[in-house]
Structures are given as C-alpha cells and as structure tokens.
C-alpha cells in the first residue's frame, strides 16, 4: 500500500491511498472516528470526510468503492506537503492494522 499523488491545482496537495478496498475504506472511517478526527463538509452520497486537528489534512473516503484520498491543507508549505501526507498515511494504516486482512504499508510511491 502506498501514496500516489493525484490531480490538484496546487502542487503536492492531493494523494490517493492505493490499492484500497471497500473493506479498508470502511475501516479507515472507523479509525478516524475512533481517533477523534472531525467530520467535515456537506453530505454527498456515501462520501465521508474528516479533518485532522494537527495540520488540517483532510481524509475523504467512499466506502462503497474503496476510494481513500488525503488532501493536505494549502496552508502547509509546499516542501512539507508530502511529509504531512505521509504522516497521515502512517497514522491511518497503524490505526486499522489490528485486522490481519489489511494490506501492510509499503514505501511511498
């Protein structure tokens, strides 16, 4: 499992967690709730959005498709955005690791 940079208007803000599955995305939602991340954004279908208090990174999950996206806050300096995404990625994977069916984290891509 790794982070892949996705489309964004600003350099290095949006990352996909890949490969992800519906089961993994559902566990990410559970983990974020357990960790106290704040639900955010207006409702839209099955989209679940959470914001971290530490640096404003947002995690978006679509449990039905397994999509998990990290959005680093635009206020984070460009040189630190990758690191902010990596930190959230590690936090997420650790939080869901209790289930042996999870993909182990690998090096970031």
């Amino acid at each position: 499992m790794k982070l892949r940079r996705e489309h964004s208007c600003i350099r290095g803000l949006v990352f996909a967690v890949e490969p992800s599955t519906p089961a993994f995305a559902a566990r990410v939602v559970d983990a974020l709730e357990r960790l106290g991340w704040r639900p955010a954004g207006p409702a839209l279908g099955e989209l679940r959005t959470f914001v971290g208090e530490a640096d404003g990174t947002t995690v978006l999950c679509v449990p039905s498709t397994g999509r998990v996206q990290l959005r680093v806050a635009y206020t984070v300096p460009e040189t630190e955005r990758r690191w902010a995404a990596e930190r959230t990625f590690v936090e997420l994977v650790r939080a869901v690791r209790g289930d042996p069916s999870d993909h182990p984290p690998g090096p970031a891509g």
């Binding site: 996705e6 208007c9 803000l13 279908g45 999509r67 996206q69």
Partner: protein, 418 residues
C-alpha cells in the same frame, strides 16, 4: 419558483440567485483566464477599469439584497455582513477600515491574488495587482455601508500578494462615476421560456440535484477560500463575468472589428479552461465517485456527467439533444447564465453570443474522446496545452440558436473536424 431544499435555485432552469442576484461557481483557473482575456481584448488599463466597475456593480446588487434580507442598518453591521459574505463565497477575507469618505482594506488570502501566486508565482514576475474583483467589492461595500449613491466610491488595489507583496491592500476614495446596469432574477424569468430535458435526463437530473445540494453547503474556510475538487472554487457573480465579456466584445466591435474573432475565440477558450480544470477535477474526485460511482472511460458517461456538472454549478438547463460518440454532440440550453444577460442589457443580438457554452461543449467532447480516464491523469497545464493548443482539437463547434438572439434556447453543435 424555488425549491424548499435549495432556496437559491430557480426551478426548473438550474440557475441560482441570492435573492435577485445571479451567481454561479467557477474555479480559479477560469477566473484568472477570464480576467486575462478581458485585458487581452481591451488592453490592461481599460480592461482593469471594466473589471473593477463590473465587480463594483455586481457586488452592489448582492450586498443591497443581503443587507435588506438581514435587516442590517448600521455601517458596522453592513461591513461585517459584506466581509462575511465575501469570505463565504470563497473570494477571500478582506478587512475594511472605511468611513463615508473612503479608507483602506487589507487581506492576505484574496482569491485572485492568492491563486495567481499559487499558479504562476514561481515562474512569472507580476507587476500589476490581480484583485479587480476585490477592489470592486471594497467600493460597493463602502457605498452600501454609508448609504452612498452607486458609483460614488472608487477602489484601487495598491499592493497584492500576486506581486509578492506581503498582503493585498486597497485604497477606497470618493470618485463619482457611472456603473454598468446589472441583470437580476426578474430579467432571467422574463426572458426564459419552458425548460426542457434531453437524452439521459433521469441520470443527469439525479446527479445535478446532489451536486446542487452539496454546493449549497460549501463555504469559505477561515481564510475565505474554498478548496474543492482539486481546485479553488468561488461562488461568483454572473453579472461580473457577463458584463466584462460582452462589454469587451462590443468595444472591440466598435473600435477594432478585426480583433473580434480573436476576442470571441478567447471567450470560447475560457469554456475550455473551465471544463478541463473544474469539470475534469470534479470527474476525478472522490465527491464524484460518491455521487455517480466509479468513473468509466466512456464518452457518453463523460458527456452525461459534464452536463450534470454544468447544471450543478448553476450554468443553466443544459441538455443533450443528440450524441453520437466520436462524431457529434448537440447541446441545448433552454436556460443559461450567459446569453440572457446580453439580451437584457443590450437587446436582441444580431448573432449568437453563447461563447462560454460553445467553448464548454467543445471541451466536453475533447475530454470525452481524448482523455484516458482510466489512467487518472493529472490535469496539468502541459496536458491542457496538449489537448487544446496542440493544433488539432479533433472537433469544431458552431451555434444554430441563441437565447441572446431571442431564440427559445441556445443550441450548439459539436462535430468532428474535417
């Protein structure tokens, strides 16, 4: 008729209004390109003047509506409301320090300056401020706060983060001048007839409804910016886009007829920029996946999705009248935020004036047929240049009907280029 769940929506035209003031959603790529287009047509000095005055008039209309609706009476209440509204729209946070004689205003995250700096700042040295919209807002807010007549104040941006200044600064002073007339909800209602759906209507209407509800809940963050779909989004005033575009083209027609084809081509290209960045960003987003399911690399799916996005953003009742993948798209707009403005302001047009619709429909076909969506491409400037500036778009567009001309709809036909 409005919708209980979406009080700003004029059903069934898919147009949105703050009371009487029409608004749409556009991203920073479109906003920056649009402003540059106005300056390219008119020159920087006249372009800036038109942009500031158009924003001034548009925000006067909005703030007048808002103060009336909220019952704000004192200057302090009105200024607070204006600042909050500007930030909620994703236009940035500007703090006004003004009296009835003028004053100043400051902001660190004003939409145009900040996003210009993000997009171009590392490569281009800018010498002129970028926030004509912010300047127009400052003049309008000051007038409304102190019950001054329209056009009595003028605002100038004297420092801008796009020029690498630490913050944006605006000077506001008395300078009576004429403002353009604005177009309101009643103008649209008077000019639009029955709306119609088209092919794939059920799916388009379903996605549109969800996007409209979602956008109703989107608001600026603590800095007054909205980051969504991989772009910075603004809720913006249709009068600003329309007045600047049409006044610029009409000025070219009066003084520089040979430049009119270039001006019209640039206004169409603004449609390409919007569809590539905003529509593309939405199609690739988790938000889209939650509404429409995983994106399929299928031209019909892309055109259907893009039509729903146009409606969701408040562009009007765009419908697919005919779609032959690889060959032809006929897009109808029984309502549009664009062309009715022309007719309301200047009377019936002598030729089609749906520049944005033409450019957008053409770009939809380009995105549908020349982008490998399965590869989840990054929507970079280089990719845009490759698709739209590489010499062969693969398609061409023309209008056969236009609301600006008094037709019952705008209709554009996109066909494979011969």
């Amino acid at each position: 008729m409005s919708n209980d769940k979406h009080p700003n929506l004029l059903v069934p035209h898919d147009l949105t209004f703050h009371t009487t003031t029409p608004y749409v959603y556009h991203c920073h790529h479109y906003n920056l390109f649009h402003d540059q287009t106005i300056d390219d047509i008119l020159g920087e000095e006249k372009g800036l003047e038109l942009r500031v005055d158009s924003a001034h008039a548009a925000f006067r209309q909005l703030l007048h509506d808002a103060c009336k609706e909220k019952g704000c009476r004192t200057p302090a209440e009105r200024i607070e409301l204006a600042q909050s509204l500007f930030a909620a729209m994703g236009q940035g946070r500007i703090v006004l320090d003004v009296s009835a004689e003028g004053g100043s205003a400051r902001g660190t995250h004003v939409h145009y300056g900040f996003t210009w700096s993000e997009k171009y700042g590392s490569r281009v040295n800018r010498v002129d401020p970028a926030d004509a919209v912010g300047a127009g807002f400052c003049a309008a807010a000051t007038e409304l706060a102190f019950d001054l007549p329209p056009g009595s104040m003028r605002a100038t941006e004297t420092a801008c983060v796009a020029k690498r200044d630490p913050e944006c600064v605006f000077e506001i002073r008395r300078d009576p001048h004429e403002l353009p007339r604005t177009v309101g909800r009643s103008d649209y209602e008077a000019l639009l007839s029955a709306s119609e759906g088209g092919l794939h209507e059920e799916r388009i209407a379903s996605i549109t409804s969800q996007l409209q509800q979602f956008l109703l809940g989107v608001s600026g963050d603590e800095r007054g910016l909205v980051q969504a779909f991989g772009v910075f989004v603004t809720q913006h005033l249709s009068n600003y886009y329309n007045e600047t575009a049409y006044a610029a083209v009409r000025a070219a027609e009066r003084t520089m007829p040979s430049a009119v084809p270039m001006a019209e081509a640039l206004l169409r290209e603004a449609g390409h920029v919007c569809v590539f960045n905003t529509f593309g960003g939405i199609l690739l987003s988790p938000e889209w996946e939650a509404v429409a399911g995983p994106l399929k690399n299928d031209p019909t799916e892309i055109v259907v999705g893009a039509t729903a996005i146009a409606r969701g953003l408040g562009f009007g009742r765009w419908s697919i009248s005919e779609l032959v993948p690889g060959e032809r798209l006929v897009m109808d707009a029984t309502s549009s935020y664009e062309a009715p403005h022309y007719r309301a302001r200047f009377g019936p047009a002598d030729k089609p004036r749906s520049y944005f619709l033409e450019g957008a429909a053409l770009a939809m076909m380009v995105l549908a047929h020349r982008v490998d969506w399965d590869a989840r491409p990054e929507l970079t400037q280089a990719f845009y240049d490759n698709l739209f500036r590489g010499g062969g778009l693969g398609f061409q567009v023309h209008s056969t009907k236009c609301l600006a001309r008094g037709d019952d709809r705008s209709r554009v036909v996109v066909e494979r280029a011969s």
